[in-house]
């Protein structure tokens, strides 16, 4: 979609030496962030619900059998945490963002712990496009870029299939052009 005019942006190879200190937006003048689909909120909520149901069922059974108050406390704790997480999921999803620069892909995410990954296309080993049953139900997909370093964290969830395949093709094309590997 906007990938081509992204590539036409001023080259980001010599980034500004004194960027303004923004918590999430390092180089606003050269980087155009794209956000992920807000449908991801529902996917995340349903995922959370599924997990919580299992945990709560386990705790409730434990409470019913043993009658220990510890289970009750744990149950309340889990419910409180769930409520907190439900409130923050929307913001967390909005915090996901990615940007395609000339030589690298930027991915940012996280609310409490904020993370920004800068992955050069030339280091790409392979690209994963995956869509679980929940994501498929909402017509979403996840693109993940892998490098030779296990610590690299470049996963972009909540993309429309068309955008996901566009990103995949673009990444593989750029990776092929500039392949460097190790």
């Amino acid at each position: 979609m906007t990938g081509d005019d992204q590539a036409g942006l001023p080259p980001a190879a010599p980034p500004p030496t004194g960027p303004p200190p923004g918590p999430l937006e390092p180089w606003p003048e050269t980087v155009r962030w794209q956000s992920v689909s807000t449908d991801l909120i529902w996917v995340e909520l349903l995922r959370l619900a599924a997990l919580i149901v299992i945990v709560l069922a386990g705790l409730a059974v434990g409470w019913a059998i043993s009658g220990q108050a510890v289970f009750g406390v744990a149950l309340t704790g889990v419910l409180l945490l769930t409520a907190l997480r439900t409130v923050t999921i929307a913001r967390a999803v909005r915090a996901w963002g990615y940007a395609e620069r000339e030589d690298d892909l930027l991915v940012r995410h996280g609310l409490l712990v904020r993370r920004l990954s800068i992955v050069p296309y030339s280091r790409m080993q392979f690209v994963d496009v995956s869509a679980g049953p929940l994501e498929r139900a909402f017509n979403l997909a996840t693109v993940q870029l892998h490098t030779a370093a296990a610590a690299t964290d470049a996963r972009v969830p909540g993309l429309r299939p068309a955008e996901a395949s566009r990103l995949r093709d673009r990444l593989t094309a750029l990776g092929r052009d500039r392949a460097e590997g190790l």
Binding site: T17, P23, P26
Partner: protein, 485 residues
Amino acid sequence: MSEPAARDPEETRPPDPPPHPGGYPPTPPPHPGWYPAAGMPTPPVPPPTERRQRLHPLSPALHGAKSLVVVIAALSWSTLSRVGVGWFAVLAVVLAIGATVLAVVSWYNTGYHVVDRELRVHEGLLWRRIRAIPLERLQAVEVVRPLLAQLTGLAELRLEVVGGGKTEAPLAYLSVADAAALRQRLLALAGPQPEAAALAPGTPQVWPEATPPGEPLHVVRNTDLLLSQLLTPQTFMIPFGVVFVATQFLSGDSWSFVAVASTLTAMAGVLLQPIRRVLDNWNFQLARDVDTLRTRNGLLETRAQTVPLHRVQAVGATWPLLWRAKGWLRLRLEVAGYSTGEIDVRNRPDQLLPVGQQPVAEAILAEVLPGVRLDDLPLTTPPPRARWLNPLSQPVLGAGLHERVFAVRSGLLTRQIVVVPYARIQSVRVVQGPVQRRLGLATVHADTAGGAGAAASDRAVAEAWALAAELTARAHQARRANRPQ
């Protein structure tokens, strides 16, 4: 997070790789009578498509003997106390014989050959598996000779390939001459300029020789090694451990023999680590041969490792607290292919210098990364407000951009410097936790293909962004500069 198995390129390949575009004659179909007779000398100059070779015929016996140890460990002390010594021995022997029979079957079905620029390893009886290992991706080669292999004149050849969750294709076992010849050949094929490196196999290889080939760089004195391992926390803990077990044992009959034996075994695993280090690094020799580093070490199990210099991902220097009086430090080399989560540290033979003085370390570092000096790195400390997160270690933390490398320093008691060449940076990450956000700090990670990479912790946010931008730019430049080779 790391899924080494999932990213193994060889796993995802079709079982029979399609012919190489280079167009060599296709491999003739294998049939049972087709292997060369075992123990036959290998042809010195093999044709482009060479015959599959078997491992050394003594390998199953060695595997069986090795499995005996595993079997005994698996049966453990509690089984011993339950069934008695006689039955225990019978059980162990039966299981070991079973393992040996399996090893014979697997040996019969295992073969390897070099095709074009690939090493192909065929294995398996029911599930046939052919691994094609592209030699351009070879990171390091290691010849390991456990005690039993030394007695029988055999050696194991291990290849490290990027993406392999574990050591890829351990060829166990080959005769020593075969292992050395194959290593030489694989390295020649894997080198950046195959035609230049191909001259190397012409020189006669005598192995095992006392020193690794090439220009010797350093030999670690065994007395230093011994002393350095005495100066470890484990050594100081041994008396406490012994006293603990003794008091437990004497204080009553609550502890059975099994409990004491198991505790001792468990403690030995931890406390005897220094002894293992001494045995592993005995006679440590480092040499440089054209553009590869060669190390040779070990008392009971000798290892000869060969790392091409352009495969070095990072170098780490560690100054343990107790070594400071001696001015000693340890250097290690990170090579891609050894997975970060590998539990057995012994299988990460990336020691560059087990113990040594600073000048020695500088000399070695100059060979690996010319122009980089440990005492001359432009390290700066994070801002004073980082004290809230690192009350004591704030003055120790440091990060800096050298001309060729990104360097970070950390550790109050065990000081550590990690040096990553820009060309080896795979990705850059900026991470900011909640407390860091309040203080206006962020941590910058430079990820590498081997090891944990380098992390500049708790830099001021503006500096962190500048650092990330600069690292990305310099990594890009360094790669571009490397490309014309």
